[in-house]
């Protein structure tokens, strides 16, 4: 390779006190330019994996809740994810309020998880916070687990009547999505 001889020559002509040699500068500049270009070329390869705009679009779902009797619940869908809407019985509300917050892994009161004056309407995502299964307990006759709320069959997480995590591997309560009451009988999720 001629590199050695050439760099020695360059060194001679520019002198050691010059600091950066011209050839080194050209090398670093050329490789840096190519490197930045390569990184820029990777960007589209990475962003193509992210959810596209149609998936991201904040779709809203309106749900008629007039037919849900106390003690019943329905399963609906929002952004391709299941949503549980439950009309709690007074007994279930009392059970949820009787639990001291210190007993909870993710401390929240029922009131914090519902809208003011509508504490009987418990609206959560039907997605277990462990690994994303749909817990049982919303349908009639399904296993509601030891705490009377929801029970995830995948890894045994049990939620109470306020859908708060009480037992098993899940770290968080079932997520409460953004929603509002459009009327006494209609809820808009999202």
């Amino acid at each position: 390779m001629a590199t050695k001889a050439t760099s020695a020559e360059v060194n001679d002509t520019t002198g050691p006190e010059e600091g950066v040699r011209r050839r080194d500068f050209l090398n670093v500049a050329a490789v840096s330019f190519a490197g930045v270009g390569a990184v820029a070329a990777i960007a589209p390869l990475i962003v193509q994996m992210s959810p596209s705009a149609d998936v991201l679009a904040m779709a809203t779902t309106e749900v008629d809740i007039s037919k849900i009797q106390p003690g019943q619940g329905i399963k609906t869908s929002w952004r391709k994810q299941p949503v549980f809407i439950r009309n709690l019985m007074p007994k279930e509300i009392a059970e949820a309020n009787a639990v001291p917050l210190s007993d909870l892994r993710d401390p929240q009161t029922l009131a914090e998880r519902t809208k003011p004056g509508k504490t009987n309407w418990l609206i959560t995502l039907g997605v277990c916070t462990h690994l994303g299964c749909v817990p049982l307990g919303i349908g009639e006759g399904e296993n509601r687990g030891p705490f009377g709320g929801y029970f995830c069959p995948c890894h045994g997480s049990a939620y109470d009547t306020a859908a708060r995590i009480r037992q098993g591997p899940a770290p968080k309560n079932l997520t409460v999505p953004d929603y509002k009451f459009l009327s006494a009988t209609t809820v808009q999720i999202g």
Partner: protein
């Protein structure tokens, strides 16, 4: 390649000579899996499983390429393209699909035996550390490929498997959930996820094939290990790979392929789950959701963390599951015993079989229902798994008194009965190379 007495390639046909002079590929093949690769003469049947894994990789690639010609990677069409088109309409499609389904199970089965053979005979020890580590890379790639392939039929187990396994990433704080959404291309498995899994499921087997070449290359530098763990000392200790081990591998492959054919033809769905014949439903999780059998031990480790301790239980489970494989990369340095083979390590041998039982228990728990007894048993078995590698193995390798090793491979094989073992017409082979022959009787 590895020993001075390895026979050099001498092309017999002029065409082969012509090729060899221009591109020495025939030479490479001859030195790798032909008469030019000397192999210890005392290999037992446990040494057949590496070649078997290669055979099943080939079966998977061939059947997979053909299935991809008929498969539709869309959430509307995937289930029907597998269960209607391939299983009923495509000529011999049912056979190719069942062969691919069960081929995956057999690929994992022979690979597990191959891994445990390495664990027992200390195949991970110097100078074969890189062979071992490349093997683990292959295994990780196999797991990724197997998982993504299972998603493709888009049945209930496919869908919820994708949901749960991508959910592993959400365990990591802050970055976890964005990573999960990025991997899926949405908030739940959907079209974007299915298409990218199909693309990667097609790609990764070829990456595996590439790493297999590195695995064999690294193996052929020191040469194959053997049941005594004693290094090859002379030509008397080895036999050429071809025809000796090609013949043995061929016969054993035929035996295992017969078993594979039995399962494929007579019990093709035995290792699968009936729920995967239900189309994916994002609103209902199957009551008993489990992965394929070859992931059960890891699934049991994942499930064995139920209580938060500094970190959330969910994160512990995911970390433990990943580290149960990652710690195997450190095995060459955890087990420092200079004796390779478990046959000469009486204490190690007992703990090895305990580990086998422990992994079988983990496998059983991973596939079983969740109840108090199974969770407790799974926790104990998971704890023992880590105890074995992180505590027992280093201690045993430090304090164990090993049995005396044979002086050489040929000595351990022949027990002084050299005349009996010599080829007809030869009674004795002298070290100097001169051969005393007598007339055959």
């Amino acid at each position: 390649m590895s020993f001075s007495w390895a026979k050099p390639y001498e092309p017999k046909h002029p065409v082969m000579r012509w090729i060899d002079e221009r591109l020495p590929l025939p030479r490479v093949v001859y030195g790798a899996i032909g008469g030019g690769y000397p192999v210890p003469r005392n290999l037992n049947y446990w040494w057949n499983f590496g070649v078997l894994a290669g055979i099943f990789l080939t079966i998977q690639i061939v059947t997979g390429i053909v299935l991809a010609m008929h498969y539709t990677a869309s959430t509307d069409g995937a289930f029907n393209s597998v269960n209607q088109l391939i299983m009923r309409d495509v000529n011999a499609g049912w056979l190719l699909r069942y062969a691919h389904m069960n081929g995956a199970s057999f690929f994992f089965l022979v690979t597990y035996i191959h891994i445990f053979r390495g664990l027992y005979y200390g195949s991970y020890k110097a100078p074969r550390e890189l062979v071992w580590m490349l093997g683990l890379v292959i295994y990780l790639l196999m797991m990724a490929t197997g998982f993504m392939g299972y998603v493709l039929p888009w049945g209930q187990m496919s869908y919820w498997g994708a949901q749960v396994i991508t959910g592993f990433f959400s365990a990591f704080p802050l970055v976890g959930e964005p990573i999960r959404i990025w991997l899926l291309g949405g908030y739940a498995p959907d079209q974007a996820a299915l298409t990218r899994f199909f693309s990667l499921h097609y790609l990764l087997p070829f990456v595996i094939a590439g790493v297999v070449i590195l695995h064999i290359w690294a193996l052929h530098i020191p040469g194959s290990s053997n049941p005594t763990g004693v290094d090859v000392k002379s030509e008397r200790d080895t036999l050429p790979f071809h025809p000796f081990y090609t013949a043995k591998d061929g016969w054993f492959a035929a035996a295992v392929l017969l078993f594979y054919a039995l399962v494929t033809y007579y019990a093709p769905n035995y290792l699968g789950h009936p729920d995967n014949y239900i189309p994916a439903n994002p609103l209902a999780t199957p009551a008993h959701i489990v992965p394929e059998w070859y992931f059960w031990p890891f699934y049991a480790i994942l499930r064995s963390f139920t209580v938060d301790f500094i970190l959330p239980a969910k994160l512990w489970g995911v970390l433990a599951m990943f580290s149960s494989i990652l710690l195997l990369f450190f095995l060459p340095w955890l087990d420092k015993s200079p004796v390779r083979s478990g046959s000469y390590r009486p204490v190690f041998k007992r703990f090895f079989w305990l580990l086998v039982i422990d992994v079988l228990i983990l496998g059983y728990i991973g596939g079983a229902e969740i109840n108090a007894r199974n969770v407790a048993l799974g926790q104990a078995a998971a704890a023992y798994y880590f105890l074995h590698f992180l505590v027992i193995l280093p201690l045993v390798s430090k304090f164990e008194t090993t049995l005396p090793l044979p002086n050489s491979i040929s000595e351990s094989v022949l027990h002084g009965e050299e005349a009996e073992a010599a080829p007809a017409g030869q009674t004795k082979t002298k070290r100097g190379g001169s051969v005393a022959t007598t007339t055959a009787h």
